[in-house]
């Protein structure tokens, strides 16, 4: 048998492996991001959310993971581009009449379009909050931190609730008020809210197919477990984007 070992990622199977691993990593990221963002709903004037944002933007481990995350988004996008180009070349003349809905679901056939919507969203989203947070003019706010004699942060406290501590010292921390930034943008910019909701719908459809698909790509297909993975994927692709979408809608319509 004549065979040669080529670099794994030069093959379409290897490239799909990159898609699947980066895709699943992004799914995990979505969950972490969602849990953090749920602090927006706390009725504390943004205290919890701002403490969380400070942690996320300063903790070295989180910062590393964030850069890995950006890299994987780029990897996911460029790999999908390479695959799509190869796929288009594989069928230069399209069918005059193709009844694709008879054999596959819509989302599975439109991963590229859905991904492009998500990409546009990611760019706008980064410009909106990440760039503004890092380089833009953001209102400031402050809270108190209790520091133990060894220099460890014991707890954080809202300004109004500050009480004398029997141990350690109290330090006032001044941070960018991302809470205010987020909530004002969401309550004033209808188009932005619309884009956020559309993007979440796109993520929902992307994962309706993508979640279970990634497991198949890495070679997991099991009589008993695959149906569970599928159900999990359907649940994930509804619940996670829905919770994300509620945030801009909440600040636009209710708060």
């Amino acid at each position: 048998m004549k065979y040669s070992v080529k670099p794994l990622f030069s093959s379409t199977i290897g490239k799909k492996l990159l898609m699947a691993i980066s895709g699943l990593f992004l799914c995990t990221f979505l969950v972490v991001h969602l849990i953090g963002n749920l602090q927006l709903f706390k009725n504390d004037g943004g205290f919890a959310f701002n403490v969380y944002s400070k942690f996320m933007t300063t903790n070295p481990l989180i910062k590393t993971v964030a850069y890995v995350n950006y890299a994987l988004i780029l990897l996911h996008v460029f790999t999908s581009l390479a695959l799509t180009i190869k796929n288009k070349k594989a069928r230069p003349v399209s069918y005059g009449y193709n009844n694709a809905k008879a054999n596959s679901i819509w989302s599975s056939r439109n991963m590229g379009i859905l991904g492009t919507i998500i990409l546009v969203f990611i760019v706008v989203h980064m410009q909106n909050f990440w760039y503004e947070m890092k380089f833009g003019e953001v209102p400031m706010m402050s809270y108190f931190e209790y520091i133990s004699p060894e220099g460890k942060t014991l707890s954080t406290q809202n300004l109004e609730e500050v009480a004398p501590s029997s141990y350690g010292t109290v330090r006032q921390v001044i941070v960018k008020d991302l809470y205010k930034e987020v909530t004002t943008e969401f309550s004033e910019e209808a188009l932005l809210v619309l884009l956020y909701v559309i993007a979440q719908i796109a993520i929902g459809f992307h994962l309706w197919h993508g979640f279970a698909s990634a497991f198949q790509t890495v070679g997991i297909n099991h009589k008993r477990y695959s149906p569970i993975i599928k159900t999990l994927g359907y649940g994930f692709s509804i619940i996670v984007p829905a919770l994300f979408a509620i945030m801009p809608l909440y600040f636009f319509f209710i708060k």
Partner: protein, 247 residues
Amino acid sequence: MKFTLKIWRQKNTNTAGKFVDYQISDVNSDMSFLEMMDVLNDELVRKGEEPVVFDHDCREGICGMCSMYINGRAHGPKRATTTCQLYMRNFSDGETITIEPWRASSFPVLRDLSVDRSSFDNIIQAGGFISVNTGQAQDANSTPVNKEDADLSMDAAACIGCGACVAACKNASAMLFVSAKVSQFALLPQGQSERSERVLAMVNTMEEEGFGSCTNTGACEAECPKEISISNIARLNRDFLAASIMK
């Protein structure tokens, strides 16, 4: 029964084709789709026109030759059916039926509905076999195979290499075909000694032949006349990954 047939006519690989409409009447509902095509060709020949070229051989659903994309589906509207096993009763009287060749750069059109599937042959030649010394056949029971693996292997071996998976896939991917041909050996003891070489050789050839990648849409499985499962593709992915790392 009466039909309007919208058929793809193409002189050869290098010329562009187009759809041509034909009317056909007095079709018996119990004719197979290929018999209906025979009747049409008979009429065309009588009128001095060129008959429609299409592939066929066994006409009993086992050879895989009868490639036709009918009304937007590989082998037409019926599940788990080749074109030769499709009957005109599956269509409604007066219907317009669109008939096209498999469309993939790896399956160039030879003429009309007939395509060149040598790319599949090349994949098989790369590794779709086991190397054994000829001579006295062994006692069949000397190599035990567990029932579940034997069944899965037989299911994979049901692939007739028709190319419906490629035709139906939005990426013209050959992954279902290759995965069936890899799996039938990967599941049996006889296939183990060349397991890694086989998967590398067959996947490399698949890539070189220009087939697209797998998006896991499942269209192949849904249109396969032998209902080959995409769980074979997961096995192919596993085997290819393992072989790429180990070799």
